[in-house]
């Protein structure tokens, strides 16, 4: 349960027995495939989820960046993002454990919709906690969760976003721990969550590795993935960690600036790997956006899926040890990359995923300085398209209009919303 000094189980005592029970189930079902759990899981990922997702050569990006750019198409997974890999795994595990109720938190709504889908598929009652502000920003996702039969519980404390929703879900769990499983949405939280979520998500890199060998006859020189909590990142990296010849880039949300306003308790970014410090949040020791006293700061990103003050402990450890390189891309670069991929490849990415493409542009694009960073990417680059951007249309319109992204189509007729 430790990654260097990171990780651990910093949770109320009331939850510890459930966490021990979960850890036991994780070891038996996930690690040892007891009762054929992993076979069942993989079959459902294939038939219900649509795996394997393709590893696609991006023809026009390859030309633009003068190297072979391949896309790992997690946007094609059922629900529109990699989130289902984990949600399906955990809900199935809860079913094997005899749990009777599922709870989950959600920020942008992607993890909530994935959990709601998995619960409908597996006939499990489900309640999702979501900050009231996020509910108003992501109404289509709220409606999708309800359509799938889940309850959506608004969280009104604090700023009403992901951080508060996680805390509130932990409170529910502490109350109903005996029959309820909490499906954490990323590689965060107390052990065994960071390891378990990584294992469920590692199907991404497992496939990508095999596909790269088939298509390229070799492993990629670099894998690039966006990093918020880090679940798509760890999923895309996990099976490559031992391949020392493959560089791993975790692209964080640089937001509007990396500068921090300690007075206001606001970090206008979500770059906890780049600018964060060590601390304990939501059950684990990891890198955090916090003030000098240890109070957690409000993070920011144009992409609500990256907008979180913490990051997975294993990813933080891999960055500390130098195996993973943490970089960041600001809101404007991410939005521009969102439009570029839409126009050049016919794939509208999630704003989260757009950050990964923003990094490609910043080091290998026509306006990039010749840099060692571009060399670091090498000849064959795999970029993880962690999700599709349909959920982001509304915010993309608004943000694009406000920022005047030069390659964007004319937005005038859409101001005021879809």
């Amino acid at each position: 349960g430790k990654f260097g000094d990171y990780g651990g189980q910093y949770v109320p005592e009331a939850l510890m027995p459930a966490i021990e029970e979960l850890n036991d189930a994780y070891e038996r079902y996930v690690l040892d495939n007891e009762d054929g759990f992993m076979d069942d899981f993989r079959a459902r990922l294939r038939d219900f989820g649509g795996r394997p997702t393709p590893l696609q050569r991006a023809d026009r990006l390859s030309e633009r960046y003068d190297r072979e750019v391949y896309l790992k198409r997690e946007d094609l997974l059922h629900g529109g993002a990699h989130k289902l890999n984990n949600a399906l795994g955990q809900v199935l595990l809860a079913k094997y454990m005899g749990k009777e109720r599922i709870i989950a938190e959600t920020g942008a709504g992607q993890h909530g919709t994935a959990t709601a889908m998995a619960c409908a598929h597996l006939d499990m009652p489900c309640e999702i906690y979501m900050g009231e502000r996020d509910i108003n920003r992501q109404r289509p996702n709220v409606f999708r969760m309800k359509l799938n039969g889940s309850e959506v519980n608004p969280v009104t404390v604090g700023r009403g976003t992901l951080k508060e929703a996680i805390s509130e879900t932990m409170r529910d769990w502490a109350t109903n721990v005996e029959d309820t499983h909490y499906v954490i949405g990323s590689v965060v939280g107390p052990h065994p969550f960071p390891s378990m979520v990584r294992d469920f998500q590692s199907v991404i890199s497992e496939e990508a590795r095999t596909q790269a060998r088939e298509k390229l006859g070799r492993l990629p020189d670099a894998v690039v993935a966006c990093a918020g909590g880090g679940s798509n990142t760890m999923g895309a990296f996990a099976e490559f960690v031992d391949d020392e010849e493959t560089a791993l880039y975790a692209v964080e949300a640089g937001g509007s600036t990396l500068e921090v306003d300690e007075e206001a308790g606001v970090a206008p970014n979500s770059a906890s790997l780049t600018t964060g410090t060590e601390g304990i949040l939501h059950g684990a020791r990891t890198r955090l956006l916090q003030d000098r006293d240890g109070q957690i700061m409000e993070s920011h990103s144009v992409s609500s899926g990256l907008d979180y003050a913490g990051v997975g402990p294993e990813l933080a450890h891999l960055v500390d040890t130098g195996r993973v390189t943490a970089v960041n891309v600001d809101d404007d670069e991410a939005l521009t990359a969102f439009h570029r991929l839409s126009q050049m490849e016919g794939i509208i990415p999630a704003l989260e995923s757009a950050h990964a493409f923003g990094y490609l542009e910043s080091v290998a694009g026509p306006d990039a300085p010749d840099s060692e960073e571009a060399d670091g990417l090498g000849e064959y680059v795999v970029v993880n398209v962690s999700g599709r951007g349909d959920k982001d249309l509304e915010s993309a319109i608004e943000e694009t209009y406000e920022r005047d992204i030069d390659i964007a189509p004319n937005m005038d007729e859409f101001t005021g919303g879809l």
């Binding site: 189980q9 510890m16 404390v157 502490a174 721990v177 060590e278 240890g294």
Partner: protein
């Protein structure tokens, strides 16, 4: 007086308030009122931005206190400014303990090695000892992760109070009870903090599991009246911990703009009711093997 001593002369009343709620000066008066009301130990909350174990009442207290400018440094000043003689327990989340006294910004900026740079809990504990705090309750620190804090507490002679939940049984219970000192915080029911209109059924069986452990057992979560207190103590508790019911008085006074003295009087009144309830409960207790 040590924490355990506070439980020696009959049932202990352990009230909680968040330091600095809703402002520094009022909060000093409120805490002092608790002692007048009969408190034997006072749990003083240092507010953390993500209070995952708290219900809405204490969450709101945390917000008010933080907005009033409470910080760990101010908290220690607060303790020094307090005019109370009963033992004080600091209740807070581990990140604030862990981060205190950490390297300066300048050090942090020059540290590019990626190494762990926190000093850990020792500076916080040292400072707490210095201002006269007797122990800690840390809701997000289970026994498994408590070694560094335990060691610092031992070094400076502070107690580390652990929470025992209704779900805590068997080996886990042993592991906790090996580490606990001062008193054990018996969580009366599952869930988060918050005043309740009735007493949980789980309390009796929780206390029963703890019979064989030789440390004072203080029951918390949901106690809001003298009647509750009486029944809890009657069923075997060595003390009662009351937070939300008291915080409700602070919140109400704040909302209504009542002056601090009036609010303090109300706190003292409820404190006395709770203490009296606890004492009344003790007289109904079944015969109990004498404690050392």
């Amino acid at each position: 007086m040590s924490l355990e001593d506070a439980f020696a002369d009959g049932p202990a009343f352990v009230p909680y308030l968040a330091a600095g709620d809703p402002d520094y000066e009022s909060s000093l008066k409120y805490v002092e009122a608790l002692e007048r009301g009969g408190a034997d130990v006072i749990e003083l909350g240092l507010p953390f931005s993500e209070p995952i174990a708290e219900g809405p009442t204490i969450q709101n207290a945390v917000v008010r206190s933080l907005e009033g400018g409470m910080t760990p440094t101010r908290f220690f000043e607060f303790v020094e400014d307090l005019d109370v003689s009963v033992p004080l327990v600091c209740m807070t989340y581990y990140n604030l303990i862990y981060r205190y006294g950490d390297e300066s910004e300048a050090q942090r900026a020059s540290n590019t090695s990626g190494e762990t740079v926190s000093n850990g809990p020792r500076p916080f504990v040292e400072k707490a000892a210095e201002v006269g705090i007797e122990g800690f309750v840390v809701p997000d620190l289970p026994a498994e992760e408590a070694d560094p804090l335990r060691e610092a507490c031992d070094e400076f002679g502070l107690d580390l109070v652990f929470i025992v939940a209704p779900t805590t049984r068997g080996e886990r219970l042993d592991r906790i009870m090996e580490q606990v000192s001062g008193y054990v915080y018996v969580q009366a029911r599952l869930g988060t903090t918050g005043a309740q209109s009735s007493v949980s059924d789980q309390t009796g069986s929780s206390l029963e599991r703890l019979t064989d452990y030789d440390v004072p057992k203080a029951v918390g979560f949901g106690i809001s009246s003298g009647d509750h207190a009486e029944r809890i103590v009657a069923s075997g508790a060595d003390g009662i911990i009351v937070g939300s019911a008291l915080v409700d008085i602070v919140a109400e006074g704040h909302e209504n703009g009542d002056d601090a003295e009036t609010v303090a009087d109300r706190l003292e009144t409820l404190a006395r009711e709770l203490k009296d309830g606890a004492v009344a409960g003790a007289s109904q207790r079944p015969p109990h093997p004498e404690r050392t």
